[in-house]
Symmetry: D2
Subunit: 463 residues, 4 copies
């Protein structure tokens, strides 16, 4: 309420109480002021009531919520369902305008503020997480793969002749398809002239036993040959190691943009990414490459989340993740040795771990995929089982040994990861159920297998 | 509750009442059954309680909501903020998988169902709205422009040599940028060989005085020359005329895909589109071109909206829109004649209208843009004012007479549209305020102008 | 946001847009100002966004939401469940203080404002609905019966010798128990001395064939004998006739308080009432008689509802109700005559109607109660079936012919009412189902009865 | 969804995933089954999604949510505002029927279940908290004071001659008014004959330096003289000591009913209480004394809260409270000694503590009340300051030394309490601010006082 309404309230309820209420309101305003002034993630998280107060204030500023508005355009932020209006806090106009996802909308001052602040808070968090010299970023309502495509499409305009992307193999469909969708062919560097190369496309976070690419070397090489360098940092924000690699790469060499998933790093729903870089004009070029307006939903989610957590809350989540990584490694190691297996040695992968399944493989061909389906039905999610020698064809390219990032990986294995938000209970339960499954498989031998197995497709992809 | 729990309840509350409650539950289940069986928009809209019951049921089926789940993957649908979880009905996993936005997710049976059903209901609504022979469609969490880009990128793989897109000029940045982003150059057909042409990119809904392209002729030509044809049907679903054009075009010639905005046609927040076509494999090819998972938020919004409205509710909205179009035309005509202007004759444009501003232009150079800013401050949104001879450069291409779709449009004008969800009050208020503005501008002459004008940029884009 | 934060926002988003947003905020503030100044129900209903903005502002003023509060009392408005906090808009402190339900709470300026404003808006609505000279009222979180008890208990302190209440019989348990609970014995006036009489307890709204008491005569008599007069106006606010009776009674004679249900008159959940009267000190005395704090929930519900409807919306509901009353009367009359029954002649009852069931009674003893259970299982709710000669004992008093307000009512009948919020569809469906039931009962004769009947208890109380 | 709908879903999404989803649904059903079967608070708290699923299931069973219902009664659970409907989970019919708040409603099977289960879970929690032999209880939507009134009114029917209540003085308005409202006069036992005594009205939880009444002695005396005994256990559920006193009292003597506040013990909004006792018929008699239906809101709040916390969560809250009590005592003791004051010796009061303010009193007359207002403006809530010799008249009775439960308490003091939900931060902040205030008061002497003081009323009641 404004001061006039507070004064009127003093005629209804004792003025000393109203004055205290008005003062209490000011403390929320102070938090908002700090955000507007600094554009940074607040150190201490906001209460839900401050967050909602702020979002309501933003919504009031959008024309679809003006009490006296009359709309005669083709896009007026009208909403048919009140369920839909409520779940978006009545912020309906999305973000950006035709031609620039970062642009301000005249019809939607509140949504525009939301967009600017989210990008600003996201930049602050990237710095806090280790890439101290990042210069610019924006949240885009597309997952990592499509966001990488947007980067490649932007580079195409700068390098019209280029036909190839240099890509240290990583077996995740969306990374590969991001290049294919943008119309490029992944190739090894030696075969190509530098002019024909659009960029190097490197990876930080990935499934063990693969480890993050050596970004310093790649960035140095890119600088030397004048080749752009795009980093897929999908779930790397949560790891200081991955962030350090990017920071170092940019310091000693060239990194044009790095892309990270919102859901994997910030515990929000799937569907958004942050495109960031060290050269503001290039990042703006990418944001201008996005044609048209876009959903504000991922921005809203990440802003709510970061304001609620605060920088300290986010840092706490990261340090817990790190601790649980060690706990998971230790537990997997014990379990592996109890079953005659081993934890694969991947000290450079800070998130994902792998345990060999040699013994299981020895038992029978189907046992490995069977383990996948058993874990699935026992509600262990995310524990990938990688059999030997799987072949997969994506957009005409055939990958041997798919999922293991290598044509001839010597053993089948199981992945488990310590990602942000994981709890000790997750680890304990997973180890317990995994132990039971392994025992069952060994005990029952082939007899049991036909009973549980859902077939290959499900088993190997049970994640 | 299941039958066991209903039985237990009968020990607590009289069994005849519980039995009636259980029967009442069945009537919600019947509605859901009908949806699952038919995959169509229900004729009568559902109550909010049925919608929420259904969404809760879907959420329960996603692994992030399993009571006994333990997650050790990198993407487990964890949510940090309960505000965020609630606003998404705890559906966190998004839609699609790496490599196909229409794919089913093992971790998220509920979200997968949501995705499939939304696409199926959307298809039904496209048929109802006039494109009876549409074969396939999917909802994509990107606005129209980026969705068109995805279509062009898909075509590129089919026509590797193509460098040009034939495009009947329409002055909307995102349409143009959709082509540029995908890496193509818009050109006139005579200059080019057919092999070099990626596709024809035509438009239905647009601002008057432009009218929808003659799709029958274009589609016939595309069939003859074997050139793909992509239609930008941005807000055309709401008009039976636009939908009829597409239906006819596909019948007599070739239309590969048509793309429509969710927010403009279905009164949901900005950020989604439907990509549809007459050849299922091609539409699937586009959906597989989207690399990675995607936000479920636009799908959720449109599903909630269509279930709540029902087919009958949506049809009612469309017929109201049509009536208000006539009302708006009539009111604008009277106003125009009262001010010595005229309603531009654009009988083929079923949504947007234009009124000349010759008299205003005669008064002074600035008066026209001034009108734009006056309407903006008076909370008339969507009424575009188009001055003479505006030049605009987009991605290196310069457009003369920008916003009027033509290099030398003879007069300045004002646009107003009757879009779905508009009310009679919107029209009445708009006309009243417009009348006042025009009077003020004439009365005060130049004196008043300097006081109100916010400058060119705002004035001309006040929508 | 305050002006400082709007200024800061202008550095992030164009100042003209922010200024418009700030202006938009002011229009919400204006509505709130009007409410605070006038204390009346706004003529036009508020949008949900204004209502929620206002409630959030109130919540911010309560100490449990102070960002810097530390609580060391025994009652600090702490909430364990966020579901609970949200559903109460974080207004946790209830209303009133020890010793006065209308008192202001130092810890809860917002809740105190809510309480005062609700009472003030309720008073305005009572005036609008016909009791123009009402002087004071308050919302109490107890249903009508318990609220009447509170009135009687207050009168007891004024009339310590009184032992009797004069009560024109009305067969509703809670009315009777309200007197018993307060410790009094209902009696006819002739038997008693005036000093021994606590009050006259009259009734307006009631089931046909009973009609409202003749309040003018009763009030005149009360004035003459100096006996307090309490009116049970349970669902009478919705009828201009009932309200007129009260207004006239108070004008020509004596009415000390009249009590109305919130749920029945204002379409809110069960559990609140308004105690109103023409002498402010007496109403205050009642409010001070309520020992301790109380739930704010009914006040919150009725305030949200009245602000959302506005005076015009509420009046529209009332006039619709009146129209549907005529429609229901007409439909029931036709149906009755088609089945050889008649609509009972009760022109003075403006809400409830009754249709004879003589024919059914003639058929068999059980047919009448059987009709009740048939209607129940066919989801016709609120249609009471009144058999002949039911006896009921309440707190030791035996009522013959219970439910018909009379010892020997000549025929069994069925009640139906046109209460606020009813729709034409309700009437049409009810008549259709009733017609079917009556046909079935006649056709099948005794054979069918044993099959459907749930027994006496349910049948007669199927409402 | 029912099994038929799950089967249909298997045609849309892979059946193994749907089957897992259906299994996941069963785990929620299992929790509900357990609740229905046992009627006890679950040991582990439910997730919010299970709670909401359950409430939605209950709502579906109420006739106002029947999809095919037609209502022609005067009370049909219609709701005008969707905000109101949502916040009550569409449970609109309240609890109870005319004449019994515990009765089942034919129109509302879901709300009836809610009512029964809440009472059953509340009974379980009372047992867990120490009154193991409690036989019956019910939640009533009235605060403690009005609930005590209801008990007294019920006793009145059993003891028609009684005029007095024996009441060990406790200075809280609502306790006193509860007796006055019910029409009785509090008196000392020696003056009266047993027949003239309605009951003994004793107290457990109270502000220090008062301590809980010696319930064993009182209960023994009541048994001996055959006098009913009602215990005000306002916020005693949270203390094992208070609960033990009641358990012991009932074991060795007579306790007819004990009444506790919902908000103070269970962290829900103000406005509900639990009336409990050892003789089921008497508790039923009280529940039947409540005339008419009642708000379900307090029942809903406490059920949500207890299901969410689970028994283990509630016990954890209680043990934290106990620990913080010790911490508060220790901190207050240190502070007191630093300022030349002392912690009053009240070992039998397990919740409230008191610190002398002799030094402050010595400084000036106004300093003590001034401290109250200083704490209020510094957002220390609940810290009561009790000056010497305050006189208060309630309903004609004058209390000397009001608030200190004694006519001539020797020193002024300050109260602080460790109530359920308190945190260590609350204590630390309170001590810090209190320290600062005391220093300021001493330093500035009289000069400062006129500046800060809001006057007597506020100062002394700043809680």
């Amino acid at each position: 309420m404004n001061s006039e309404n507070f004064s009127l309230s003093e005629k209804i309820v004792s003025s000393s109480y109203i004055r205290q209420g008005s003062q209490a309101r000011r403390s929320h305003e102070q938090l908002i002021r700090h955000l507007l002034e600094q554009g940074k993630c607040p150190e201490e998280g906001w209460s839900e009531s401050t967050v909602e107060l702020f979002l309501n204030e933003l919504a009031v500023m959008d024309s679809n919520n003006f009490l006296g508005n009359c709309g005669v355009g083709e896009r007026e932020g009208r909403v048919a369902s009140s369920l839909v209006a409520r779940r978006h806090y009545r912020l309906i106009h999305g973000i950006g305008r035709s031609g620039d996802i970062a642009a301000i909308q005249p019809k939607a001052a509140g949504s525009s503020l939301l967009n600017k602040l989210t990008n600003s808070v996201a930049l602050d968090i990237l710095k806090l997480s280790g890439v101290r010299s990042v210069a610019s970023c924006f949240v885009v309502p597309m997952a990592t793969g499509m966001s990488l495509t947007l980067c490649f499409l932007t580079l195409r305009h700068r390098r019209p002749k280029a036909r190839y992307i240099i890509w240290p193999r990583i077996d995740q469909k969306s990374c590969f398809k991001a290049m294919i969708t943008a119309g490029f062919e992944p190739r090894k560097i030696e075969e190509l002239g530098a002019d024909n190369v659009l960029c190097v496309h490197s990876t930080t976070s990935c499934f063990a036993p693969r480890v993050p690419d050596r970004l310093e070397e790649l960035a140095t090489m890119c600088a030397k040959y004048n080749i752009p360098h795009i980093v897929n940092n999908a779930y790397g924000v949560q790891s200081s190691k991955c962030m350090h690699l990017i920071q170092q790469g940019a310091r000693v060499g060239r990194i044009d943009a790095f892309v990270q998933s919102l859901d994997k790093n910030f515990m929000v729903p799937v569907g958004g990414a942050i495109i960031a870089g060290f050269d503001e004009p290039f990042i703006q070029e990418i944001s201008k490459m996005y044609p048209g307006r876009a959903s504000a939903s991922p921005s809203l989610d990440v802003l709510i989340t970061l304001l609620t957590l605060g920088a300290s809350g986010y840092k706490k989540l990261l340090s817990e993740r790190k601790e649980i990584y060690s706990f998971l490694a230790q537990e997997l190691k014990s379990l592996a040795s109890a079953h005659g297996e081993r934890l694969l040695h991947t000290p450079h992968n800070p998130i994902s771990l792998a345990m060999s399944l040699d013994g299981l493989q020895a038992e029978s061909d189907k046992a490995v995929t069977h383990l996948g389906s058993m874990l699935f039905t026992r509600q262990v999610s995310g524990a990938r089982v990688i059999p030997l020698g799987k072949e997969q064809t994506i957009s005409g390219h055939t990958f041997r040994g798919f999922m293991s990032h290598s044509e001839e990986y010597p053993c089948p294995y199981l992945n488990a990861a310590s990602a942000v938000g994981i709890t000790r209970d997750d680890v304990t339960l997973c180890i317990k159920r995994l132990d039971k499954c392994l025992k069952t498989l060994k005990k029952d031998g082939n007899a049991a297998k036909s009973k549980f197995c859902f077939g290959n497709t499900l088993g190997s992809s049970a994640r």
